[in-house]
């Protein structure tokens, strides 16, 4: 931090720590150094130095689990495929990445899906990825041909025509319709 920057208050510093896993790691390793680097106001330093790293991590984890709950609304099938691996994978991603508002749930889901594309591409549901891309790009119309593994017989695949139509001006949740035609 530049020496001339204005000192930050407790809430701002605590917020940074809750959003940034690497910063929490640094605080656990050397609290005085991190508090100094953050440029925290003198009167707020004792409270930050008093934080117990395990408690801070748990407080941050509560926020990450809330984020996962929001992301689940956008990619339920992908998370179902990840099963017990969903939380560890999301935690790995989210501890290092915090989305900016507005529509942060959509951005978070898209960024997490991007993370999975790079690390575990088979886990992503194509329909959900298409939907995320459609919302994110604020398209009015999109058509995709997607293949889906059949659930009735092993080794079967089904084709689906996925038609995405946005009817409202507002981007994000609630303003789009999703139609599927199964062939």
């Amino acid at each position: 931090m530049p020496a001339s920057a204005a000192p930050i208050d407790f809430t701002t510093a605590f917020g940074r720590l809750l959003r940034d896993g690497a910063l929490r790691d640094a605080l656990a390793a050397n609290p005085r150094r991190v508090v100094e680097q953050l440029g925290v106001r003198e009167q707020d330093r004792p409270a930050l130095l008093h934080l117990v790293p395990a408690d801070l991590e748990y407080q941050a984890e509560i926020l990450l689990r809330k984020r996962l709950g929001v992301v689940r609304e956008f990619i339920p099938e992908t998370l179902r495929r990840l099963a017990g691996d969903a939380w560890p994978r999301f935690h790995h991603y989210a501890r290092r990445h915090w989305p900016d508002a507005p529509h942060s749930g959509l951005r978070d889901a898209h960024a997490f899906a991007g993370f999975l594309q790079a690390t575990q591409p088979g886990a992503i549901c194509d329909r959900e990825w298409n939907r995320l891309e459609f919302f994110r790009k604020q398209q009015r119309l999109a058509v995709h041909w997607v293949r889906r593994r059949g659930e009735d017989r092993a080794g079967w695949w089904r084709g689906e025509l996925q038609l995405l139509v946005r009817t409202g001006r507002q981007a994000g949740r609630g303003a789009e319709w999703l139609l599927h035609f199964q062939l």
Binding site: F10, F14, G15, R16, L18, A47, H50, Q59, L63, D100
Partner: protein, 265 residues
């Protein structure tokens, strides 16, 4: 004392039947913001059936600086439509000047924070034209400050001229995670400020107690609520279940348990 529950869309059909024992509802303001999916006219219908209270999650009273005008306007519109007996928010922050954190986080018990939260609470109450209550939250970190937590809450309620929404479950969870006596904590509070209670079963994750809002109310919580009601003029107790909703019959049993806290057999 009225008994009721937090309105959730999963419970809407059951609530519409006006089940026995449900005398009031607490609605979450953010669930009725534009785009949140609530049917038009629903608030007016609920207001016609029940005493309503409007509860906020995202006004972030503990953030230094001005309140988010857009959030406050949306909150006020919900209040206007619901015409509640009172409104409530948390002693917490959910955003900083740098971004949104998405959920409730604790504020340090300092005189500066008393001033910040109290001024924001007064502003919300004046904007909405309704009395406001402030609620204690669960926190996994214990923040030091100039004041004990109970002194902080007493000063805060005095300065904001408001009541306390005492979340029994949050108190119990904090007492277990941080090792203090919840009854002694309650005895340090100004009793006349305690206007409403929240209660729901706690959850456990290893050694930690958490507020998953997904469990039936445990007996020790009922006992704690009974002790609070015996010393404070509590006007309403709200069952605050958010997940893993049980069958209506089980909810009715829980509501009946809450009713017996103030009206023992």
């Amino acid at each position: 004392m009225m008994t009721g529950l937090g309105y959730r869309r999963e419970l809407a059909a059951w609530i519409a039947t006006q089940p026995r024992g449900v005398e009031c509802l607490e609605i979450t303001a953010e669930h009725f913001y534009p785009g949140a999916g609530a049917p038009p006219g629903q608030l007016a219908r609920l207001a016609g059936q029940y005493h309503l209270f409007v509860h906020g999650l995202g006004l972030s009273l503990g953030t230094p600086g001005p309140l988010d005008r857009h959030q406050l306007d949306q909150f006020a519109r919900v209040v206007q439509a619901a015409n509640p007996d009172w409104i409530s928010e948390h002693v917490a922050f959910t955003r900083t000047a740098e971004g949104d954190l998405g959920y409730l986080n604790p504020v340090p018990p300092t005189r500066e924070m008393v001033r910040i939260v109290a001024e924001h609470a007064r502003e919300v109450a004046e904007r909405c034209g309704k009395p406001i209550l402030l609620e204690n939250i669960t926190s996994h970190v214990r923040l030091p400050g100039e004041l004990a937590e109970t002194d902080f809450l007493n000063e805060l309620c005095a300065r904001a001229d408001c009541g306390l929404l005492l979340d029994v479950t949050n108190l119990f969870i904090n007492s277990r995670n941080h090792g203090f006596d919840p009854l002694a904590w309650v005895r340090e509070l100004e009793p006349r400020r305690i206007t409403q209670l929240h209660i729901v079963g706690y959850s456990r994750a290893g050694q930690r107690y958490t507020d998953g809002h997904a469990e039936p109310i445990q007996e020790e919580l009922i006992e704690l609520a009974r002790a609070i009601v015996s010393r404070a003029p509590v006007q309403a107790i709200i069952l605050e279940r958010d997940e893993d909703f049980p069958e209506p019959r089980e909810l009715e049993v829980e509501i009946a348990k809450l009713a017996r806290i103030s009206r023992p057999d």
